[in-house]
């Protein structure tokens, strides 16, 4: 995994003074650990939150046929839903030229897992098991020439998949109140 483009340490005067404060209003309650676990579906670029489970593109082909192909097309290309594969498999085209094709454009493979897990299949979100999400993720990465067909994706291997855009995007903005849109940009 390549290094993250982290924001240069933000000096948050507000936030650091906040840390020492105690609650003021006494509203709300503390959620149970299980509640937090059930709600927290966010996966970071390094994948710490990824669950146990695994899958390969071979497994994924079966799940895809059953759960995805009807909308996304048999090959992830000609469906009514957005395409999932770069324009020509096997080509080394600039991934920025593909448009918003998730498995090739996102800098981190974890984004692919996260999105399938939270939002797919449409109207049946949350019905896929972790194994199935790993398997479909492996299939999409395989279709986009990023992993081998028999490569096992799990919580250790998935964050290590080197995505073509991992290092090719502009730095994150260092935002502070009252600053212009970009430093040095008058408009």
């Amino acid at each position: 995994m390549r290094s993250f483009k982290l924001l240069p340490a933000l000096v948050l005067v507000g936030a650091s003074s906040v840390a020492a404060q105690s609650p003021t209003f006494g509203l709300g309650r503390t959620p149970a650990p299980e509640e937090v676990l059930a709600w927290d579906i966010s996966i970071s670029p390094t994948g710490e939150e990824l669950p146990e489970g695994s899958g390969t593109a071979v497994d994924g082909a079966l799940v895809y046929r059953r759960s995805c192909a009807r909308c996304h097309g048999a090959e992830g290309v000609d469906g009514r839903a957005p395409r999932l594969v770069k324009s020509e498999r096997g080509s080394d085209e600039d991934p920025w030229a593909y448009g918003r094709v998730l498995p090739i454009r996102s800098p981190y493979a974890t984004t692919v897992w996260d999105y399938i897990n939270r939002g797919m299949p449409l109207n049946r979100e949350g019905t896929l098991t972790a194994d199935q999400v790993y398997a479909i993720t492996a299939l999409l990465l395989y279709w986009n020439d990023l992993v081998a067909e028999d490569e096992v994706m799990n919580r250790e291997t998935l964050p290590l998949v080197e995505m073509p855009n991992a290092d090719t995007w502009a730095p994150l903005p260092d935002w502070a109140p009252g600053q212009p849109r970009w430093p040095g940009y008058p408009y």
């Binding site: 936030a15 503390t30 709600w39 502009a170 009252g178 212009p180 008058p186 408009y187």
Partner: protein
């Protein structure tokens, strides 16, 4: 439109449908309309899908629906006409506010979960803010302002500052980012700097004096003043404080490539547009017109708006309506007497931190390549032809 700007041709409205509606006149003394009013059937201003993709699409997902800015009067967009946008299309969830919860967790001292009633007990703020989609881009194919600019709207939002809630939870050192998540089918999520969260983000439950409309996030959303609209997460259910940018589905799609650029621009640039006369309208003849428009900036308050009625050769200060609010639409007007000759109308916004709305040519020159990159805040030219017809003058 007629009531708004008599003399200036209405936006294309189906005259037949107006007539049909008039024949089925509402009974304004009926219990329903006594309890909850509706507009006159003669007022036909309507939103419409923009960006060339149908809404709803074949899955029933709604994508981008624009506000009819050509009919806009004043700074506030009526709630029912507020633009509506989602990244990849969305179903509007039906949420029972009694069942709805907001969880704040992650790098905080005290994880918290709130009911709507509890959130409403916190000290609140009421502020005017625009929300604009980063995809609100004008091009030469657009004929009307709803196509070129319809994905910006402005409402009076009421809610609790996110800062108040984060202080209640106690942000830990290193918690420099938050991720905000909705509960619609894709659980749309955006990453935001905690610096913004501690500044002015509102966890809003009301707009324009009533609860949020479902299309605007009922019962709860965040409003991120001045930032690209996608960051104002609707149907808010969860805020997690984290130590890094999380690269969610919404985030990755907005990344930019050029290292001389920023990955995300966040802030909407200084922007304005003349709403009347605008593309598709007709001036009935030479004579007096009040040129009207809207100006806004993600950088703060609008400090000045200039109008040109001669294609940019001369510029004059427009009158601003009321006191400009930070990151809010500000209505402006300019008295103009049209001599009947062909001309081009322009407006430009200057905000309180000195940013100036550019022409498309200035943007191209700055970046050394044609077109407008990033969020489009370029000056919109409207050409008035001798016959009074008004056209988009972008070439």
């Amino acid at each position: 439109m007629g009531a708004v700007a008599p003399g200036i041709g209405p936006t294309p409205v189906d005259a037949q449908s107006v007539e049909t509606q008039s024949q089925e006149m509402d009974d304004y003394s009926s219990p329903e309309l006594v309890a909850y009013g509706k507009r006159s059937p003669y007022v036909t201003s309507m939103r419409q899908p923009v960006n060339g993709r149908p809404s709803p699409d074949e899955f029933g997902l709604v994508f981008h629906i624009g506000t009819p800015l050509q009919d806009q009067v004043g700074a506030i967009t009526p709630s029912a006409l507020h633009y509506f946008g989602t990244t990849r299309g969305s179903f509007v969830p039906h949420i029972d506010p009694a069942e709805h919860r907001l969880m704040i967790h992650g790098m905080v001292d005290r994880e918290l979960i709130f009911t709507m009633d509890e959130l409403k007990r916190f000290p609140s703020v009421t502020r005017l803010h625009f929300i604009e989609c980063a995809g609100n881009r004008s091009n030469s194919r657009h004929r009307t302002i709803i196509e070129s600019h319809g994905m910006t709207s402005c409402a009076e939002w009421t809610g609790v500052l996110l800062r108040t809630l984060l202080e209640e939870a106690g942000v830990q050192d290193g918690g420099e980012w938050i991720i905000a998540e909705g509960l619609e089918e894709v659980k749309g999520t955006s990453s935001l700097p905690t610096a913004k969260a501690m500044d002015d983000i509102i966890v809003a439950y009301a707009m324009n004096g009533e609860p949020l409309r479902p299309q605007q996030g009922f019962p709860l959303r965040i409003v991120v003043p001045g930032f690209e609209g996608i960051l104002s997460v609707k149907w808010l259910r969860r805020i997690k404080v984290v130590d890094r940018f999380y690269m969610t589905y919404n985030d990755y799609g907005h990344l930019r490539q050029d290292p001389s650029d920023a990955a995300l621009s966040y802030q909407i640039g200084p922007k304005s547009v003349i709403t009347s006369p605008s593309g598709g309208q007709e001036l009935p003849g030479q004579g007096f017109y009040e040129v009207r428009g809207l100006a806004w900036s993600g950088g703060g308050r609008v400090s000045r708006v200039e109008v040109s009625t001669d294609g940019g050769r001369s510029w004059f200060d427009a009158d601003l309506r009321g006191t400009p609010q930070p990151m809010a639409h500000t209505a402006f007007s300019f008295n103009w007497t049209w001599d009947g000759s062909e001309t081009v109308l322009l407006s430009r916004c200057i905000d309180e931190i000195g940013q100036i709305q550019p022409t498309r040519e200035e943007v191209a020159e700055f970046w050394g390549r044609p077109g407008v990159r990033g969020q489009d805040n370029s000056i919109q030219p409207w050409r008035v032809e001798r016959d009074g017809s008004v056209h988009n003058a972008i070439v």
